[in-house]
Symmetry: C2
Subunit: 236 residues, 2 copies
DNA sequence: GGGTAAAGTCTACAGTGTAGATAAGGCAAA
DNA sequence: TTTGCCTTATCTACACTGTAGACTTTACCC
């Protein structure tokens, strides 16, 4: 099969020495295309032109492989903790994460469930970095450290919740979307689901970015007033 | 279909005719005990004393079985849409869901991921009922229907987000908890994770109910002000 | 009885993750 | 060069998965 490229030197050509990054990248490709269940060792091996067993050099498990994929995706996120406009930073972070989720919808289940099986302290550093950065951002903004933690939780909680929500209503083909939606809603017994049925039009024209933004505004307003209160009581 | 049975008599004893409820209950038992991955047709069959193939009468798939488990758990939720104290209702609903998640932590991944593979309109009615009830509650509270939808999304989003957050930090044995946590945090490079490391004590004394309640307060305050604004502009 | 449909059981197949044995290569010392 | 050794690659095998399809048994109605 397709032995491309040089391979350079002693290495038998066509096998330019795998790297963990290459493996994870291909794994992400598969997950994006067909979902996490379709990521099997055999398939990954085949698409890399390698023996499936060889992959165990780059990931201890299939589970570890999935963790790697999640981490790889999260690596795209970045924020600048030094920015004094903490609310702005949080807001753009939220939109970045949202776009990232829309770009890799099949990875989202991994993002939200895999951490459940690993205690916080033992997670890969890549997943903890955003947490550290946000904490830093918030402390610089004036929150006491423990409060920063609470804010982080509230914010990320809301963020992930929104993403799950949006993805649930997200369907690829917008034409089919409306049809499917109406079809599905029509199936509901009118007596029992009057509200939901009447909301069909509203459901169709869902604007995730707008919705997210409004939620964030509410949250940030609340958090800021909390910050004010705290600073006042501290200066007494 | 469903010969309404009488049970009793002719049926060979020890095989009192399975019901879908019984199957799902046992399935939930297994998931609670060992996680969703451990729910195999063969094991479920064995624990029910039946041929694994027979289970396909009560669920089309293994996937459908998992959906059934999720639905079964959600059935425990209830709220009274006629209550005029909508904020109170939402708050207790939140705590109910939280407790439910803590009681069935292994089901939470199903709760958040399974809907991602089924368009909203085609979900089992049991999963849509809470949505309808909340919409009804909010409309009675004065929200216009489309806004009620937005509120629902914001609320549930936050709620699920919180649950995921809390479950991530939740470890069964609290003694081991502290140890593990410190151990894990100690592993982090101090230069790169100063905030996180210093927060070890705060991480240990995590109070999920309190945290949830505060978040809800923030959210509800924001939502109520939105409601007021809307009503004002409507009465002009 | 006879006939029909449902419920239960068995076998088989294609696919999974991965342990463990085996082979092939690269490099250092003798 | 020959010998030994260690890392990497490949192969085989095993226990286990979901489930299609054929088959057997049971329950019930006429």
């Amino acid at each position: 099969m397709a032995t491309p490229d040089t391979g350079a030197g002693t290495q038998t050509p066509g096998k330019p020495r795998l790297t963990r990054e290459a493996v994870l990248a291909k794994a992400l490709e598969i997950v994006d295309a067909d979902g996490a269940d379709s990521l099997t060792m055999r398939r990954l091996g085949q698409e890399l032109g390698r023996d499936p067993m060889g992959l165990y050099r780059y990931a201890e498990n299939r589970a570890a492989l999935l963790d790697g994929v999640a981490e790889l995706v999260l690596d795209d996120l970045s924020l600048t903790p030094s920015d004094p406009d903490w609310k702005g930073q949080l807001r753009t972070l939220a939109h970045d994460l949202r776009l990232l989720a829309l770009r890799h919808p099949n990875v989202v289940p991994l993002l939200v469930t895999r951490p459940l099986s690993t205690p916080l302290g033992l997670r890969p550093l890549g997943t903890l970095r955003p947490l550290e950065q946000i904490l830093s951002l918030l402390v610089k903004a004036g929150f006491r450290a423990p409060d920063a933690l609470h804010v982080y939780r509230a914010y990320y909680g809301f963020l992930y919740g929104h993403i799950l929500n949006e993805l649930q209503e997200y369907i690829v083909d917008p034409d089919e979307n409306e049809a499917l939606l109406r079809l599905g809603l029509h199936r509901l017994p009118p007596k029992e689901f009057p509200r939901l049925r009447s909301l069909a039009p509203a459901l169709v024209e869902y604007d995730g970015a707008e919705e997210l933004d409004q939620g964030i505004s509410i949250l940030l307003a609340g958090l800021e007033s909390q910050l004010k209160r705290q600073q006042d009581s501290a200066s007494m």
